[in-house]
């Protein structure tokens, strides 16, 4: 489990709080710098007929913009910059984690849980601002027999409250499991040596490709679920 360990690169203490710059913080900075740098570089000479790099920048923009529009409607578009930031941040962190000897920030439950909790708290606040107390109707689905209502409402509330947990655990578990698998099979390659190590190596090549897919997919799932939850807050049911 060495690959998941937090190491303090710069010890920092701010008002008695441990604000050390760790390898986790370093990779967050790298991810943010890479994405920002790429997008700004790609748009250095914006033109009507996009260059290759500009196409990628526009593609990512349109991809997330369509995601927000399709899942939250036009009312969700003010939150597009946030969803874009979220998607690109998680995607970059997941992808960076696949580089050997790097650190996967999203394999830490505290990071994913903080993100999920922040998102769902924000969405709940948006819901109450938009609908006032009427937001509570979210927990009372239409067309349910009155007898079942208390039970359904309780279930709805529990499912709403567990959203941050399911959202964060999904990302964290996928990242951790994938990287652990890679580590285990990497160890097999070394242990079986030059003669027997080819089989786990071949497996690892395929599995790495799968992990790239998972890295993208989990960022996508995280972002799209944010859009869906946002849609609940904006339009109720």
């Amino acid at each position: 489990m060495h690959q998941f360990e937090i190491t303090r690169l710069v010890e920092l203490d701010v008002f008695g709080l441990d604000a050390s710059f760790t390898n986790s913080g370093l990779f967050m900075v790298i991810a943010a710098v890479l994405v920002t740098g790429f997008l700004v570089w790609a748009m250095r000479r914006p033109s009507m007929v996009p260059s290759r790099s500009q196409s990628i920048a526009e593609l990512s923009y349109e991809f997330v913009a369509n995601m927000v529009r399709d899942n939250s409607g036009t009312a969700g578009m003010p939150y597009f910059p946030f969803v874009f930031t979220l998607f690109m941040f998680i995607l970059a962190l997941n992808m960076l984690g696949l580089v050997p000897y790097s650190f996967t920030v999203t394999s830490h439950i505290i990071v994913t849980f903080a993100l999920a909790l922040f998102i769902l708290t924000g969405i709940t606040i948006i819901g109450f601002i938009k609908h006032g107390a009427g937001f509570l109707r979210l927990f009372v689905p239409k067309g349910v027999p009155v007898v079942l209502l208390p039970l359904i409402a309780v279930i709805e509330i529990i499912s709403y409250l567990t959203r941050p947990l399911s959202l964060s655990v999904r990302l964290f578990a996928n990242m951790m499991a994938g990287h652990t698998m890679l580590k285990v099979f990497g160890a097999f390659v070394v242990a079986l040596g030059f003669l027997g190590g080819w089989a786990p190596l071949a497996f690892m090549v395929g599995f790495t490709a799968l992990e790239v897919l998972v890295a993208f997919l989990q960022a996508y799932v995280f972002a799209i679920l944010t859009c869906i939850y946002l849609n609940d807050a904006l339009h109720l049911h």
């Binding site: 760790t22 009507m48 920030v105």
Partner: protein, 161 residues
């Protein structure tokens, strides 16, 4: 599991907040307006180009319609002129023919008159010849020459009978 060491949580959370906030501002204020601006500009350009093309197409259609109308008018005019010319020619031909017919009619009438006169004079001469022949015949039959008046009377009565 290193993930479950609470001592490591705070530095991660603090740097997550800092980096994510800065990253959000960079995206929202720097990168996204640039990309969105280009996409919007392109969409506007395509829209305006399409509108221009539509306007030009409409103008072309108008020009075609005007041309066709002018063509139809010209055809109408040409038809009118041809009709006029034909009518004029017809009238001239008719007048000419009527004049010719009248001339022919008068000539025919004159000829008929001449024929009638000739016939009458011939008939008169026939009477004279018949009287002479009759008096000659009577003379040779009975040796008596009847008077000219008597013979003429007898010829006239014979012709009547």
């Amino acid at each position: 599991m290193p993930q479950l060491a609470p001592a490591d949580w705070l530095p991660q959370l603090i740097w997550l907040a800092i980096v994510f906030a800065v990253f959000y501002v960079l995206m929202a204020k720097l990168a996204l307006p640039k990309i969105g601006g280009v996409i919007d500009a392109r969409r506007d350009k395509i829209k305006s180009d399409l509108e221009t093309a539509d306007g030009l197409r409409r103008k072309t259609e108008e020009a075609i319609a005007a041309y066709e109308q002018a063509l139809a008018e010209a055809k109408q005019k040409a038809h009118g002129i041809a009709q006029e010319a034909r009518d004029k020619l017809n009238a001239e031909i008719t007048a000419e023919r009527e004049k010719l017919e009248a001339e022919l009619d008068s000539k025919a009438a004159e000829a008929e008159d001449a024929i009638k006169k000739a016939k009458e004079s011939a008939l008169k001469e026939v009477d004279g010849i018949a009287t002479d022949v009759a008096s000659d015949i009577v003379n040779s039959l009975i040796g008596v020459s009847p008077s000219k008046d008597e013979t003429a009377k007898a010829v006239a009565s014979a012709r009547q009978g």
